[in-house]
Amino acid sequence: MHDPRISIIEERLRDINKVVVVASGKGGVGKSLIASMLALALSKKGFKTGLFDIDFTSPTTHIVLGVSNLQPKEDKGIIPPEIHGIKYMSLVFYIAEKAAPLRGSDLSNVLIELLAVTRWGKLDFLIIDMPPGISDLLLDVLKYVDEACFLVVTTPSKMAFETVRRLLTLLNDLEANVLGVIENMRIRESSYIEDEVKLLGKRFLGAIHFDEEIEDALGDVNTLLKTKFMKELEEIIEKNQGIFH
């Protein structure tokens, strides 16, 4: 018995220069926002960018980007639609607002199916928005996406970093490529996260302060691009050019 879909995944990702997997392990730290804003920032800089939301049970990147009335096209597979210059793929195209209660093996099957049939074409960056958890989909990304580079997100909270530390340790043990860690929602100046990240031998990419205006800007890309959040993310990209360019 052989699942033919797995054989074509490498081919589907062949023309993508860099796959950036935005992960945390912990939920609610801003992965989807950072993944979406990173895709917008890279696209704005002229890079061909894709965004793949693999938080299949709770997709939200479409809220950030204001995706509506879009559907993938069929052309010997699935062609992701473009929004704000970003090639975009999410299970939301197939479940709309319904809950999709999926167990682990189902989640793996969805990922394999979409990796096998989505034709991204030539991209400089494919940003993957991960679900929380150190479980099925993380293991599947490690298994099926050979060149995955992990961008790890945490908040300043020790509770969040407790899980992030586990994730970083696992990625380290597996010799995965970790681009570095972004501290999101910083509310007071502290070097706690930076120090902890450095103790683990990983790169601290920078901090993004809690931005009260972001909630009202969701779905409105022009406003999002002018937020303090975006400014600080762009500074992180500039400061770490070797990683994002």
């Binding site: 699942d3 479940i95 209660p101 189902d106 099957n109 049939v117």
Partner: protein
């Protein structure tokens, strides 16, 4: 129904995956020619067999030039994890529009279907989900 070859098809992506997988199997098994490929096609994904066969015939080359593709459809079966009830695709009332969504990603059945007995969305697709290669025959 005749094939509209200009109409874009999901089946082509899967055919491409089959060709790629069989080529890799041939390489691994040191086969110089593939004679027969036995494919099982899960009913749930509702692949159009004629289009899949046509796509395969257009794509096969090299070691696969003379390969025959035998395709057998496997009935979809579901089992509820709550009440253990088992049922088939025929027992489910699924709108045409939803069938199309399931065609692309069979797992989205969990968003649209429920156990016909107890109403739970917590069920397993125990058979007939997607397609797989059951066997590859060839000459060494």
């Amino acid at each position: 129904m005749g094939l509209n070859l200009n109409f874009p098809m999901h089946e082509w992506a899967l055919a491409e995956a089959i060709i790629s997988a069989v080529s890799k199997i041939a390489e691994k098994e040191n086969l110089r020619e593939i004679s027969e490929v036995d494919l099982k096609l899960g009913e749930l994904q509702q692949i159009d067999v004629n289009i899949l066969k046509f796509a395969l015939s257009q794509m096969k080359e090299g070691k696969l030039s003379n390969a025959k593709f035998k395709i057998k459809t496997v009935k979809a079966k579901f089992k509820c994890r709550v009440c253990n009830h088992t049922w088939t695709l025929r027992d489910m009332k699924i709108a045409e529009e939803t069938r199309e969504l399931i065609h692309f990603v069979p797992e989205v059945a969990h968003a649209y279907a429920r156990c016909p007995k107890c109403g739970s969305p917590d069920f397993d697709i125990i058979e007939g989900r997607n397609l797989w290669i059951a066997s590859v025959k060839g000459v060494k």
